[in-house]
């Protein structure tokens, strides 16, 4: 089993990156890899509830995030500094995510076999 770390660092609905990364996470989960899913930078906006991109003729990728639990992805982190800079709080997020700081993310990356960033 390998440890894979996924850094979600793009805001939702601006590109296909959030969906591509989520697809990678779920695929890796199916193969029962050890997964860290870290929301950082503009990626923290993916965790806001009540997103409605219907008027952009787009699907709400974040609506699939609660499924992570079903896939056994329980190491979900959110960067505290990124939240703070954007005036967001961890308690208002769509799914429970463990808050962490850059130092902990450095360790997670260092202990990973592969790292993906989108």
């Amino acid at each position: 089993m390998k440890t894979l770390t996924f850094l979600a660092r793009s805001g939702p609905h601006g590109s296909s990156k959030p969906k591509a990364l989520l697809d990678m996470v779920l695929s890796a989960a199916v193969f029962e890899q050890k997964i860290n899913y870290i929301f950082i930078d503009d990626g923290v906006y993916q965790l806001l509830p009540d997103q409605d991109p219907s008027r952009l003729a787009a699907k709400n990728v974040s609506a699939a995030l609660p499924a992570l639990e079903l896939y056994g992805v329980d190491k979900v982190y959110v960067d505290t500094d990124s939240l703070q800079k954007r005036g967001l709080a961890a308690r208002q997020l769509l799914i429970p995510a463990q808050t962490c700081h850059a130092d902990e993310i450095k360790t997670l990356i260092a202990d990973s076999d592969m790292v993906f960033s989108l």
């Binding site: 939702p12 601006g14 503009d42 906006y45 806001l48 509830p49 409605d52 952009l56 954007r86």
Partner: protein, 97 residues
């Protein structure tokens, strides 16, 4: 003659918004679209240099998609149709990507 300044990049990823603000003159308007709407309610966003005669807009479609609101901010919301009207009302449109 006025210019509509269009910004579409997140203020956290590029300095597009700052570069835009540096070129705004009285009578111009600024509109945030796509990922630029992340800048709408930032405490740190420095739009003070803009006088009262600069109208600031954010595209409602992009706000709603991202679960953001422009309430209690300097920005008014407008939709796609309003965006088209703004483009027509200004002599020039300038994108700051």
């Amino acid at each position: 003659m006025s210019t509509l300044h269009i910004v579409n990049k997140s203020p956290f990823r590029t300095d597009a918004l700052q570069r835009c603000l540096a070129l705004v003159t009285p009578g111009d308007s600024v509109i945030l679209i796509e990922d630029a709407v992340f800048g709408v309610n930032l405490p740190a966003l420095d739009i003070k240099p803009l006088g009262d005669d600069v109208a600031c807009y954010a595209l409602s479609e992009d706000l709603t998609a991202r679960s953001l609101t422009a309430a209690d901010t300097r920005f008014q919301t407008t939709d796609y149709a309003g965006f088209v009207t703004l483009v027509c009302e200004h002599r020039n449109s300038l994108c700051h990507g």
